[in-house]
């Protein structure tokens, strides 16, 4: 393999790694959103608090995907 092929494979593998890293947060945010919707349907008067908690939880799950996004640039 010559040098340009190696660079290409490495840059492609970075994207694959980011894609793999986005799976977990995607599932996590999906579950959090499901819980928020169900809880709001059961108790609509708590909507404000539940949505805030959902945003916090989603932000924490999303942090992993964002770290992966940064790693594609700096590695």
């Amino acid at each position: 393999m010559d040098a340009s092929t190696v660079t290409f494979v490495i840059s492609a593998l970075k994207l694959v790694g980011y894609g793999l890293g986005a799976i977990g947060p995607g599932i996590g945010i999906g579950i959090a959103c499901y819980g928020c919707c169900v809880a709001t349907a059961r108790q609509p008067e708590l909507q404000g608090r539940l949505f805030t908690d959902f945003i916090i939880g989603a932000a924490m799950a999303e942090a992993l995907a964002l770290i992966g996004f940064v790693l594609t640039f700096i590695l």
Partner: protein
């Protein structure tokens, strides 16, 4: 030349148009737009503040007051809780700045400053310094360091939990910055690619005098409109998320146990 080949050849140009370029002096286009947005926010809020009355009569003042009410209710009362009043000026400034910065990028020809990593790093750093300052002010230096680990843990677990909490505290500045940047940059890139595809297919059709080639551009244009609607939503959501996370971090840092 094939339409798809032209599209592939034009994508690097599109990517290059996102790079910061010097407009005049030492200003890149992102810095220039940041200053313009700063001016817009100042003008809008100061004009509204000058005309403020007990019962708002003008539509303009009502609009700005609605925005402020929204920040106070959703971010102040819900996320910070008791003692939120003194943080309101910071949160409202942050929210209005990011909101207008995100929306201005949707106007063709304007550049969104939040689509550049330097601007979002600066915003995240301001927020990071702010909540740490209030944490130290509430608990004192050593008390704040201790309060990072939640109270009521078994003594053996405290160092481990403290380490992870500290890591997540330090990662907050990174996630705040990269979330805003990633959403704005990727959104505008997608809009750019769809717009490019629309024009390339029409251009190829005109060049080859073949009307059938231009048909996919109808689909691309429909997709572009859908993405525009989605980006309008995202411009608001990202401003909201950035501000509410800042509010939550302030609330966590300055909470009294």
């Amino acid at each position: 030349m094939n339409a798809l080949e032209t599209l592939a050849a034009d994508v690097p140009n599109l990517k290059q148009s996102f790079d910061p370029t010097i407009v005049f002096g030492g200003l890149t286009q992102y810095t220039l737009w940041m200053i313009i947005i700063f001016a817009i926010v100042c003008i809008v809020v100061l004009t509204a503040a000058r005309k403020v009355t007990l019962v708002p009569t003008s539509k303009f003042v009502n609009m700005v007051e609605y925005g402020y009410e929204f920040v106070r209710q959703d971010m102040g009362e819900n996320a910070i809780g008791r003692g939120y009043e003194k943080h309101m000026s910071f949160l409202a400034t942050l929210f209005f700045f990011i909101l207008i910065a995100n929306f201005i990028g949707l106007i063709p020809g304007c550049k969104t400053p939040t689509g550049s990593l330097s601007v979002t790093w600066a915003l995240a750093a301001i927020s990071f310094v702010y909540f740490n300052y209030y944490g130290i002010k509430t608990h004192g230096g050593w008390g704040y360091i201790k309060s990072i680990a939640p109270s009521g843990l078994p003594i053996a677990l405290v160092p481990i939990i403290w380490f992870f909490e500290m890591l997540s505290l330090l990662l907050r500045v990174l996630t705040l910055a990269v979330r805003l940047y990633g959403n704005m940059f990727a959104g505008h890139m997608v809009l750019g690619i769809f717009a490019l595809a629309t024009s390339v297919f029409i251009g190829t059709a005109i060049q080859n005098m073949d009307l059938v080639v231009s048909l996919p551009s109808i689909g691309w244009f429909a997709l572009l409109l859908c993405m525009y609607a989605l980006e309008t939503l995202f411009a608001f959501i990202q401003a909201y998320v950035f501000t509410i996370l800042s509010a939550v971090y302030i609330g966590l840092a300055s909470a009294e146990h």
